[in-house]
Assembly symmetry: C2
């Protein structure tokens, strides 16, 4: 860039006389960028044609009819299915072709809201929405200062606070990391409290077991009120099938509680193709769809109209070492096809985001992570779990990875806006004004639009080499380290009614006192 151009670029900082109205417009646009969820204006990337989709659906019906699915350790579920007309032998349940689909299509909502304690942060699931959510489940954390170590409740709180400060995340999540310093059978209470106290976004209920799901509903009722919770979705839960073709009582127990209370359940087979499903994309898809159909039919039998999502967490396996792999072309194909199958089923679609098997927030982490998140967006996912922070196959929540991933979250939010075709965006007057061989840096059109023209990532560096060296030659992880520390410093807890806070603490104390500490689930 010449000196003249640099001066002109700097001129961008001083909008001219048309400034005030344009700045108003820019502010409005920035507010839209910080919307509570993504409302997509772009299409989907359909990887399967009509014939391919019908084939997978037929195969899923074959599986449900011939093989069926096992619901282990939960006789009530077997009764529910028997009464609905399914063929129940032992714990094996077989379904006539089309039975599950028809149960789901009859009553499952196409779209619903999950409420937040800040009503402005309620999120839509369905109708072209996309909700981005932090990593779920890692027992370890990683940051540049401490390396990799077991996570504690302090990390859970830190990560909730950092995410609350990140404008392009929409959901506070659940087990952003496992506070392994707390008893395994009680920590769900502390995690729920941390979400309620330190974030004002929607959050997860506890996933494993009926009792913890009951605790989650009880805490939601303290926060939102009993009647409100019974009539509104205030909790989000994933019910992972035990692929292939099993749902155990730990997952079905919480599924039943959430469904009965009208809380959202994303029935989500977790498959590593080659281990928990066939090593082929088409085979995995049929099995995933079969498991979703059975699980979602169960939700609708328990409470017709209960909010639910078809989920898919279809990853791959290294056929050399047996290790899970992420960001693979096979997983991309699976998420795109699963999104299509969910739209045909008429329920919102839940999937996963920026996954990687890398141990560090390095090139591999972001190549695999960006690829995966982008594919989930193109698949039309309505809820993307693990959009930030995931490292090492989900064993580690990365502080720096969170910040770098969050840049991509903002990017896809802007991308999903599609192309503005307004007269201002067409810019014909600007092209006429500037003409051949000149530049747009100081043009009236640029000055009018510069504040909102381009998305601005936070951890990326696009300075000159010389300036980058002068600033310390940091890589993106080192910049991200400074960013999450600043966010924690600047963090302010959103206000919470002290009476509610007190009631939550009381409930937690009572629950904790009612059971001995256990260090297993």
């Amino acid at each position: 860039m010449s000196d003249a151009e640099k001066t002109a670029a700097q001129g961008l900082r001083r909008p001219g006389s048309q400034g005030r109205a344009d700045r108003r417009e820019a502010r409005a646009k920035r507010a839209a960028e910080h919307a509570p969820y993504i409302q997509r204006k772009i299409g989907y990337f359909d990887i399967l044609g009509e014939e391919g989709q019908c084939l997978i659906e037929d195969n899923a019906d074959d599986i449900l009819q011939e093989i069926g699915m096992e619901f282990r350790g939960d006789p009530e579920i077997l009764d529910i299915f028997r009464n609905a007309g399914a063929d129940v032998k032992g714990e094996r349940v077989r379904f006539e072709r089309g039975m599950c689909r028809s149960l789901i299509k009859r009553t499952a909502p196409k779209s619903f809201m999950q409420q937040a304690r800040n009503p402005a942060k309620a999120v839509r699931l369905g109708d072209g929405s996309t909700v981005l959510c932090p990593v779920f489940g890692p027992p370890f954390i990683h940051n540049l200062d401490e390396g990799r170590r077991y996570a504690s409740i302090k990390d859970t709180e830190n990560l909730i606070k950092i995410h609350q400060m990140l404008p392009y995340l929409h959901h506070s999540g659940g087990v952003v990391c496992e506070p392994v310093d707390l008893p395994a059978n009680k920590r769900h209470l502390d995690i729920l409290y941390a979400h309620i106290r330190y974030s004002d976004r929607p959050f997860f209920g506890a996933l494993i077991g009926a009792e913890r799901a009951q605790d989650s509903v009880a805490m939601a009722k303290i926060l939102f009120g009993d009647e409100y919770v019974e009539n509104n979705c205030c909790l989000y839960a994933v019910s992972n099938t035990n692929a292939p073709l099993v749902l155990d009582s730990a997952m079905s127990g919480s599924l039943k509680v959430y469904a009965r209370h009208g809380q959202a359940v994303a029935v989500t087979p977790w498959t590593l193709a080659g281990a928990m499903s066939p090593c082929t994309v088409a085979g995995t898809l049929a099995q995933v769809l079969a498991e979703c159909l059975a699980g979602l039919a169960l939700v609708q039998l328990i409470r017709p109209g209960a909010p639910c999502l078809m989920g898919s967490f279809a990853s791959t396996l290294s056929m050399q070492s047996g290790a899970p792999t992420f960001g693979s072309p096979e997983s991309a194909k699976m998420v795109l096809a699963a999104g299509q199958l969910a739209r045909r089923l008429g329920v919102p679609f839940h999937t996963v985001g920026a996954l990687t098997s890398s141990k560090l927030p390095d090139g591999q982490a972001e190549q695999e992570g960006a690829y995966g998140l982008l594919m989930s967006v193109l698949a039309g996912a309505n809820f993307i779990n693990h959009a930030t922070g995931w490292l090492e196959g989900g064993l580690v929540a990365g502080y720096e990875k969170t910040i770098i991933d969050a840049d991509l979250c903002g990017n896809v939010q802007s991308f999903a806006e599609g192309i503005d075709l307004s007269g201002n965006a067409q810019a014909l007057d600007a092209i006429r004004e500037v003409g051949p061989g000149a530049h747009y840096l100081g043009s009236a059109h640029t000055l009018r639009n510069f504040e909102s023209a381009m998305y601005r990532p936070a951890a990326s560096d696009n300075n000159s080499y010389e300036q980058w060296v002068a600033e310390g030659s940091y890589d993106s992880a080192q910049r991200a380290n400074r960013i999450w520390k600043r966010l924690l410093r600047d963090y302010e807890a959103p206000p919470l009614d002290p009476a509610i806070d007190e009631a939550l603490k009381e409930f937690i104390a009572k629950r904790k006192a009612s059971m001995p500490d256990q260090n297993y689930y």
Copy 2:
């Protein structure tokens, strides 16, 4: 993974009795993965609707009619356009609505082959092909051993050799880095020689100026034969317009030479939205299309039927610092829309790949790079320049970045295969065999398919944390460092007829002797 599962995973290494035929099939599949170019079986991601595409086309016509384009320093071009009926005033050429489009549609081929000295490595441009090509143009290199320094001819040779060894690259490229140790006015000869000598893939002709383009054609004729070159596309060239709306004589000089000899020209406006084009996506698209229409019409007027591509290199600008930015949502929208516009025009589409402003092969580099490359693939690009190695806004060719990016090249090649819906891939028998609650690791279906089931990246690590530590705790750049050194060690030059080699050396010596060294272009 349990011990039993590990044993089963290891069992994958010992295929059973069905092994031989299956291994044959797997080898055939791997050969397809090393195909000379990607033949896509997936669709495109269309970001503009019909109305939006028509609007951009209308605006491009407005621009060409009202404002026109300047062809500077080349009276012959003005004559060509005048004779074709354009309105020429000074160096400004204006076109009636639809004139350029109709000239292009009348004679430009929808698809063509670029030949390689190894006939098996010829590439198709058009008809759903995608050709991946290394970075072009950096005066610096970066690697972990030496950091950032000026590039030399040794680096040019190294990068050509490394790419020749990478199975998922299809084109040897051009100025993979600038050998700044050689005189600026002669180094094109050394670069061309290095491609011919060290690679057997297709390559670029020199881009700047008629004289160097003539040299390129002369060297191609030594390699392929005079008549063959006149009747086949043996060179690839980009003609960058000087956006906005100018083509200067350095670029038009080479454009004319290549077009006259029937060699491929990708007319490619390079725009940083906000500097060389409006700061909006829709405005940039109209200007890009207008420049492409004028440039491609020129190619077809010079030699009707000459192979050509519509190119777009539409990046963005930091509205804060004036620095170029890459991997932005705005550039994603532009490449997707430009791909649609090229398909409507009926010519192959050229664009750019894994770009970043990062100085290092870090998380930023791969987040921006993977995002950009993937968008270009979804846009249906037939030629993707800078698919590997690009760092620091194109100022630096990264050795490690090359290796990490190449993993993504293989990934998108596999992704573009789409979903296999064969009976084997549907895997219903495997699902029946395994049944609920078991695993697929040792199933007959897995054993039959494991060799070819999953794409295998080279620089990614998916080992356990413990194994990763035992192997040195390397990040992806450190692993990539070992990989490029191994590729250089293992490199063997593809055989070249000694008579041709001799003739090339003679030509280069003669040309070098005919002009004084110059250290500027």
